[in-house]
C-alpha cells in the first residue's frame, strides 16, 4: 500500500553538551525526538544523529525545511545545509509558548548556560543569560556526579530523597566543590549534600540570572538540567510556585527550531540530505597574518570541497554567506595603516597551523 508523501521539518540544537534533533509535521506536532551527548565532537554527533534519524524516519516523509540553533548551530547549519539559523533564546521561547500558551516565565538551564525568559501575552519581553561564569549549569552537576562516581540520573534520584539538605556555598563552583568535600568529610549524608548542591545552584541562578526580574507563574522549566528532579524540587521550594516541565523539556531548543522552520515558509530546502552522515567532514584551522588581528580561521571541508570559512574579522575569507546574522564582523579592526591599505585576498599569505 502506497502512503501519501508527507512534508516534515527538522530542528537541530547543537549545545555544549548534547546534540538534539526534533522532527515535526506541518502542524507543529512532534513526530520524532533525539537527544545525543556529543562528547566534544559536534560534527560527528550531528552525523550520528542523522544516521539514527534516517533509520527511524518512515520513507514517505521528506524533510522540507531545517533550522538550527544553539552554540554550535552555525557550524551545524553549514554541515547540514540548513535554511535558517536562530538564536537559542528565541527557539526555546517559541517551543514553550507553543506547548504552554499561557506561560509567563521560562527557566532554561543547559550544559553551559542558563537563561531566564520573561513572556507576557505570548510575547517574549525580556531575557537574561548567565555571564562568563558557568556556575549553576549542567556541566557542574555533571562534574560533581563524576567526582562521586555516580551517574547524573542517580544524582537526580538521590537528591530528592533528602530530608534535611545541608547548606552548600553556591556562589562559585570551585568553592561549592570544596564546601561539598568539607561536608562530606564531616560526615553528612550524600543525599543531603546533593540536595544542598541543587539548592545552591538554584540560589545562584536566581541571584545571578534573574536579578530583580519579576518571576510570575505559570513557570516552565526546560533544558537538559530540567530532567534533574533535585533541581526541580529546589526551584519549587525557592520560588514557592509550581514548576511545569514540558514533555519534550530536554529538546525544547530543537523543537523550537523545527517550529521556526515550519513558520518560515521555506519554498525549497537547502538540506543536503542524509548522505552527509557518511561523508568525511573535516575542519582545518588557519592563521591569517595579513594584519595585526591574526585571525584564527576555520575551514569546513566536506570530502575535499570547501563548504565555508569562518572566524575572520574581515570579510575577505568568507566566500559564502549563510544568513543575516552571519555577516556580523566584516570591517577591519587593524591599525590605521593596515586597515586603510587595500590588500588583495590571496591564499598564499595564509600559513597552515
Amino acid at each position: 500500500m502506497k502512503r501519501e508523501c508527507m512534508n516534515v521539518y527538522l530542528g537541530i540544537d547543537v549545545g555544549s553538551i548534547s546534540t538534539n534533533l526534533v522532527i515535526v509535521d506541518g502542524g507543529g506536532e512532534v513526530l520524532f525526538t533525539l537527544y545525543d551527548r556529543g562528547e566534544g565532537n559536534p560534527i560527528r554527533s550531528i552525523q550520528q544523529s542523522l544516521c539514527r534519524l534516517e533509520a527511524e524516519l518512515p520513507s514517505n516523509m521528506t524533510i522540507a525545511g531545517v533550522c538550527t540553533t544553539g552554540s554550535g548551530g552555525r557550524l551545524a547549519a553549514v554541515v547540514v545545509g540548513a535554511d535558517l539559523f536562530k538564536n537559542e533564546i528565541t527557539a526555546h521561547a517559541r517551543a514553550s509558548i507553543h506547548l504552554h500558551p499561557d506561560v509567563q516565565t521560562i527557566l532554561e538551564i543547559g550544559g553551559q548556560d542558563s537563561k531566564l525568559t520573561i513572556v507576557r501575552d505570548r510575547l517574549v519581553v525580556d531575557f537574561s543569560m548567565n555571564l562568563v561564569c558557568a556556575a549553576g549549569t549542567g556541566s557542574f552537576l555533571d562534574s560533581q556526579a563524576k567526582r562521586l562516581g555516580i551517574s547524573i540520573e542517580a544524582l537526580s534520584a538521590a537528591a530528592v530523597l533528602s530530608k534535611n539538605p545541608t547548606a552548600i556555598a553556591g556562589r562559585c563552583t570551585v568553592f561549592a566543590e570544596s564546601d561539598m568535600i568539607h561536608k562530606q568529610q564531616s560526615g553528612h549524608r550524600q543525599n543531603d549534600i546533593l540536595m544542598g548542591l541543587c539548592h545552591a545552584m538554584v540560589r545562584n541562578f536566581l541571584s545571578n540570572v534573574c536579578r530583580g526580574k519579576k518571576i510570575r507563574p505559570p513557570i516552565v522549566f526546560q533544558g537538559g538540567v530540567s530532567a534533574n528532579q533535585g533541581i526541580r524540587r529546589a526551584f519549587t521550594e525557592a520560588l514557592q510556585m509550581e514548576i511545569m516541565v514540558p514533555k519534550y523539556s530536554m529538546v525544547m531548543g530543537a523543537y523550537g527550531a523545527a517550529l521556526l522552520a515550519v513558520q518560515a515558509g521555506i519554498v525549497k530546502t537547502g538540506f543536503r540530505g542524509f548522505a552527509i552522515a557518511e561523508h568525511k567532514i573535516e575542519t582545518r584551522s588557519l592563521l591569517c597574518s595579513d594584519c595585526a588581528n591574526n585571525c584564527e580561521l576555520l575551514e569546513i571541508v566536506d570530502e575535499g570541497n570547501l563548504l565555508r570559512r569562518t572566524g575572520g574579522r574581515c570579510r575577505k575569507w568568507d566566500r559564502s554567506y549563510f544568513s543575516g546574522s552571519e555577516k556580523v564582523v566584516v570591517s577591519d579592526m587593524a591599525t590605521r595603516a593596515g586597515a586603510l591599505e587595500d590588500k588583495d585576498c590571496s591564499d598564499n599569505c595564509c600559513s597552515e597551523s
Binding site: L123, S331, R336, A339
Partner: protein, 360 residues
C-alpha cells in the same frame, strides 16, 4: 620627526591623525585596537581598572615598544577615573621600563602641551585645527549615512565596503579645501548604494561609554551586527556633537549638559561623570522619538555607566521601553554577544508586529 601615540576612538582616528600630522608629528593611532594590544593592556593594567583604560594602555605599551616617544591622553576635569589615567599610565610605563612620555590634552600649564612639546608655527596650528574639524564633520556624516543605508542595502556588505573606501580616501586628503569638497560628495556616494527604501527597519539607539561605543573590537562590532539584522542604529557618540557640548557651542544644542539634565529629570539630577547622564537622557529621548529600543553598552569597571545601570533600567521599565544591557570586558565571548543581540532584535520585531496588529 617625533612620534605620538593617540588613543583610539574608532574612525575618528583619521581626524586625530590629520591633526597630529599638520603639527609636524607622526601619529601612531588605529581604527580599533587589536587583540595583541588588549592582551598587553590586560597584562599591565590593574585588574579592577575599566576596559577603555586597559585598551589605551595596551596601545601605548605596543607603541612604546616600537619606539614611539610621546603619547597623549585625555585628562578632562570630569568625575570619572579617566582624569587620572594619564598619570597612571605614565607610572605603569615607567615601571615596565618603557621610555614614553604621556601628557594630558587638557589644561596643563599656560601653553597647551601639544604646542609646548612640538613647537609648531601658528600657521601649522590653524591648518591642523581646520583639517581636524573638517575631517571630523566628514566622518560624522559618513557614520550617519552608514546607519541609514546598512539595514536597507540589497547586497549585504556594500555599505561597509563603501564606508571603508571613503575613509581611505578621506585619510589621504591634506588640503582643507579638498576635505570640504569631499565632505559634500559623501551623500552622493551613499545614494548610489542599491537600497530597498520601503523595507521596514527597526530603530535602535546605542548608549554608553564613548570608547566602547566607538571601538569595533571592544564592542564586537554591535553597530554593524544590528545594521545587518535590519536595524537602523543611532550611536550616541558623535565627536562633532561631543565637541559642541564640550565647548558649549550652539544655542540650540540639544545635547548640552543643561538640556540633558532637563531630559533626565526625575531619574538623575547629577552628571555622574563620563557619559552617564547622556545615557539616561538619550534613552528617554529615544523613547520620545519612537525608537524601538536601546542597547546600553557598558565596559566592565566603568564607574559612571555601572552606577546608572539601575537608573536606566528603571527609566525604561516605567516607559515600557526595551533595553538590552551589554557589559564588555576583555574576556567577553563573541557568541554570547551575538545571541543576545539577535534575541533582542527578535523581541523588537515581535513587539512591532503585535503593535501593528493592534493598530489595524
Amino acid at each position: 620627526m617625533h612620534r605620538l601615540a593617540i588613543p583610539n576612538i574608532g574612525n575618528y582616528a583619521v581626524a586625530l591623525a590629520a591633526l597630529g600630522e599638520c603639527l609636524g608629528v607622526q601619529s601612531e593611532t588605529c581604527l580599533s585596537i587589536t587583540p595583541e594590544m588588549m592582551a598587553l593592556g590586560a597584562q599591565y593594567a590593574p585588574e579592577t581598572c575599566c576596559l577603555p583604560m586597559k585598551a589605551y594602555l595596551g596601545h601605548f605599551v605596543k607603541a612604546a615598544r616600537e619606539g614611539v616617544e610621546y603619547a597623549v591622553m585625555v585628562n578632562s576635569i570630569g568625575r570619572c577615573r579617566l582624569r587620572y589615567y594619564g598619570k597612571l599610565q605614565q607610572k605603569i610605563l615607567d615601571d615596565v621600563g618603557l621610555k614614553m612620555h604621556v601628557f594630558g590634552l587638557g589644561y596643563d600649564g599656560i601653553k597647551p602641551p601639544l604646542i609646548r612639546y612640538f613647537d609648531p608655527t601658528l600657521r601649522q596650528v590653524l591648518h591642523g585645527g581646520a583639517c581636524y574639524v573638517n575631517k571630523l564633520i566628514a566622518i560624522d556624516i559618513l557614520e550617519i549615512e552608514a546607519w541609514r543605508t546598512r539595514p536597507r542595502e540589497l547586497n549585504s556588505g556594500d555599505t561597509s565596503q563603501l564606508f571603508k573606501q571613503t575613509l581611505q580616501q578621506l585619510d589621504k586628503l591634506t588640503a582643507v579645501r579638498d576635505i570640504r569638497k569631499f565632505r559634500k560628495t559623501i551623500h552622493e556616494r551613499f545614494a548610489v548604494v542599491p537600497i530597498d527604501a520601503t523595507r521596514p527597519v527597526l530603530r535602535i539607539g546605542l548608549l554608553g561609554e564613548c570608547s566602547v561605543l566607538r571601538d569595533k573590537y571592544l564592542n564586537h562590532n554591535v553597530e554593524e551586527m544590528l545594521g545587518n539584522l535590519g536595524a537602523e542604529v543611532r550611536n550616541f557618540f558623535l565627536m562633532g556633537t561631543e565637541l559642541k557640548s564640550i565647548f558649549n557651542l550652539g544655542v540650540l544644542n540639544k545635547h548640552s549638559r543643561k538640556n540633558q539634565l532637563k531630559k533626565a529629570r526625575g531619574h538623575l539630577h547629577d552628571p555622574v561623570g563620563g557619559h552617564a547622564l547622556d545615557s539616561v537622557a538619550n534613552a528617554i529621548r529615544c523613547h520620545e522619538q519612537g525608537y524601538d529600543g536601546v542597547v546600553h553598552i557598558c565596559p566592565a569597571g566603568c564607574m559612571p555607566e555601572v552606577s546608572i545601570r539601575p537608573i536606566l533600567r528603571q527609566a525604561c521599565k516605567e516607559r515600557d521601553f526595551s533595553l538590552l544591557e551589554l557589559s564588555f570586558d576583555e574576556h567577553t565571548g563573541h557568541e554570547g554577544v551575538c545571541t543576545r543581540i539577535e534575541a533582542f532584535v527578535d523581541i523588537l520585531w515581535e513587539k512591532r508586529r503585535r503593535q501593528g496588529f493592534h493598530e489595524t
